[in-house]
Symmetry: C2
Subunit: 560 residues, 2 copies
Amino acid sequence: MSKTPRAPGGRMNILFIMYDQLRHDYLSCAGHPHLHTPNFDRVAAMGVRFTNAYVQSTICGSSRMSFYTGRYVSSHGAQWNGFPLRVGEQTLGDHLRREGMGCWLIGKTHMRADVDGMERLGLSRDSVIGARQAECGFDVWIRDDGLWGEGPDGFYDENRSPYNEYLKSKGYPSDNPWSDFANAGVDENGDIASGWMFANADKPANIREEDSETPWLTRQAIAFIEQADEPWCAHVSFIKPHWPYIVPAPYHALYGDNHVPGASRHPAEREDPHPVFGAYMGNRVAQAFQQDEVRRKVIPAYMGLIKQCDDQLGVLLDFLERTGRIQDTMIVLTSDHGDYLGDHWLGEKDLFHDASVKIPLIIYDPRPSADATRGKTCDALAESIDLAATFVEAAGGKVPDHIIEGRSLVPWLNGETPQWRDFVISEYDYSPTPHCAELGLQPRDARLFMVFDGRYKLMHAEGGFRPMLFDLEADPQEFHDLAKGDGHEAETERLYGYLAQWGRRLAQRVTRSEDDIKAMRGRSARKGILPFLVDGTEVPDELTEKYRGPAPRRYPGDDA
Amino acid sequence: MSKTPRAPGGRMNILFIMYDQLRHDYLSCAGHPHLHTPNFDRVAAMGVRFTNAYVQSTICGSSRMSFYTGRYVSSHGAQWNGFPLRVGEQTLGDHLRREGMGCWLIGKTHMRADVDGMERLGLSRDSVIGARQAECGFDVWIRDDGLWGEGPDGFYDENRSPYNEYLKSKGYPSDNPWSDFANAGVDENGDIASGWMFANADKPANIREEDSETPWLTRQAIAFIEQADEPWCAHVSFIKPHWPYIVPAPYHALYGDNHVPGASRHPAEREDPHPVFGAYMGNRVAQAFQQDEVRRKVIPAYMGLIKQCDDQLGVLLDFLERTGRIQDTMIVLTSDHGDYLGDHWLGEKDLFHDASVKIPLIIYDPRPSADATRGKTCDALAESIDLAATFVEAAGGKVPDHIIEGRSLVPWLNGETPQWRDFVISEYDYSPTPHCAELGLQPRDARLFMVFDGRYKLMHAEGGFRPMLFDLEADPQEFHDLAKGDGHEAETERLYGYLAQWGRRLAQRVTRSEDDIKAMRGRSARKGILPFLVDGTEVPDELTEKYRGPAPRRYPGDDA
């Protein structure tokens, strides 16, 4: 692999851009019929678009912890939003700094610090080590998780909001301008029309477009890059197009009824559904999205939010071109999961249909080694954990595969066809949701696993339920759950075999690399551990030297 | 459960005694025909002897890390000797101190500190926190792992040896009196007859009996207890009867040929053996133990070492009775694994025949709640990880079952019959051994799993091998590997199902308890996260209060 020394420190940078809740198919390069995203397409034309990329969990926090650790959810253990990432779990920051690359956060992580664990180890946020532990391994340029909701029990997010501080500095007169301006319109009576209510999704957000979240964070990214003077990985992590679904003018008015695709759903899905699927179809967000008027209001706003993301991506790309950084910066565009938007009678994410678990993934590698693949797509089964491995390799390191479970995508970028995985895994832990109690489960059993081999997709649910099974070749829309009937036992068994194989994976042997282990062999014999000798003649003399010779003189009191 | 407040601090203490490599059946209470162990039997008569107790791994270090963390080997990740226990992994010390109980080490742990992890988190051994991290959570009264072997590359153990310091202080004239006196005899020429050579196992160790390792550590345990003034858990961890197989007079001469049972082995085992079993049958220690003259020398020494352990246990029990501690101290006797001693054509431990994986486990609980079970046996499937849970409960705490995977044995001690596990798991990672390369495996595939349901025992080997299967009802000696032929597919599949279920277990969600999770439900809605409303009428007004009311006055520059 050639290493083109064009970065500020003589090496490549990594611009790791994440959108939140961006569906894999809401980009023109992915075939969306109405949403034109020329800047996403521009990166796709410069790099490789992965058409079978999956997240390790369909919930923000857990999915992100997998991106940042390169490890499956059951390996890092932060299985839902607000479940702290255990202290000491290694992240991108640990791996990249070891290669001399900075690792910076600009935006959202949804990471909860393991406060108890830090206290147990005596770590304080005031120290560099403690601050990184508390921020998922990143050095923080700016952190804003973009969910400044407030209710009778106070704010959801107890951190400070740099974005709210920004709006206040610009004169927005509110204690929580994120809520009152950026994520609300004004109704006909002059009252707040909150973006939380789908009924308001067609209104423009009551904010100057340039002050809304996506342009604001884009400027933060540019400001970071302008001052950076070492090779860097910058995680630019937008909150959008995640809900609240409301967008400032002119984006609120770009799309209308005629741009809203029909919901991808089928009456067969509601006939004797899997109990977990059934529970999710009955929840409030699903019921809302089952109404056509909700889809007709929300989806144009969702598209407007994406269009704004695309325009801002253009701003960022222009900046990179202007400054030459485009030549020494790897660019990654992805998302933490999708959005059902009424497909499969569901809203939000959570389950494993492609609308939810499949993500956009576009990688531009500036090195000549990747010239052969520019503008191509790759249908290999990619997992979100692969990015951590990809970044370590891009930073010039050897992937610590005793810690990072993902695999570097660099060979694909170089046009190679490496030996690859047979299946992808995703997980969802719904223990904190009402569905857990509703289904009569204890928190430890409210867990789902997806196994997908490129054609068949199995969902296993703990708690004694039957699985779900889809054949995406015969049924690409995933309407017909084959596990309801007979005739697919062999496929089910095969995918369960993959799940079992994955369950036995090597996930926690993180203190010894494969190379370390090979080097250990025979070492104890050379340090005098010889539990296998009849008389010592079995091994070279040097191993037993310390155990031969005249017995030392008798000890005091020895009367033998 | 009644709590009898008789301990120094008003609570119970725990005396957690571990022997090393003590076979489950080398005790008179377990039916050994020649080895009389009245003091083990005395504790068995006071408490409960568990007749189906298994270790989580058949190698010292990994097995011990499971005892100390209450977690399976694949959960804590310290999969072989010298594989550091990752920093931050919680141990008995963390759990018991939370309940106000000290947690002390007197003897061996075979723990390797995660030096890299500690450095990454800025932890130093000089601090209390760092010292505990480096010692597996224990406060150290005395640590001595009892393996002071020395070869051309120096000492196996880089720590200081308090035992060697003791011997030197008593006038033993050697740089390594552990090697030259405690674990060596003198041959007819006056030369060292090292205990490493099986040929010397019938000689007396060249040391005063009172200065040998077992009496020395027993005195350390007594000294600890004499000064303890808070409720304590003391892990008194003997190196014996672990090799080197040599014992001082008079124990070297107590047993002879007539006390050595025939090897439990069968020609069928050598016919087309499982490749991993085959590899182990061919190694040096196995070949040595296949010689009857080796067994005839080694086994009497092994029995002598156990007899000495029993006598010293008597010393300790007498001390506890004399001081009244017997009334407020739970006593646990166990081992980290067994010893093949030539059974199944093998030496050492490593594989999963009962000789290796089954352990003695005797628990005396002084509380009246346990009166009904004194002197009884319990055949429930116990795992070594159960002790951590048992100790937390004995200390008055609630078992943190999101961290500790074992289950408290206290109900069994109280004569109850709790809902219990269907199978036990043990693991063995042989990646650092020559067998890994010999079988053409990469280190990550050199792993074995045992599943035992009380009757059938399955061994699964990664790397594409067939399994092994034994029916311990029809074949209690485990001679006939049923997986060689047909006819047992249903049992194999059932046990593989257990293994798969275990593979999906909840092992790393350690930062959130089940109770925490239940308490989380609905919390985000009360903190203003409302991603499911059409118009807000779906929820109580208080949840949307912050999102209603007159829109704030226009912001500077707003010309709408």
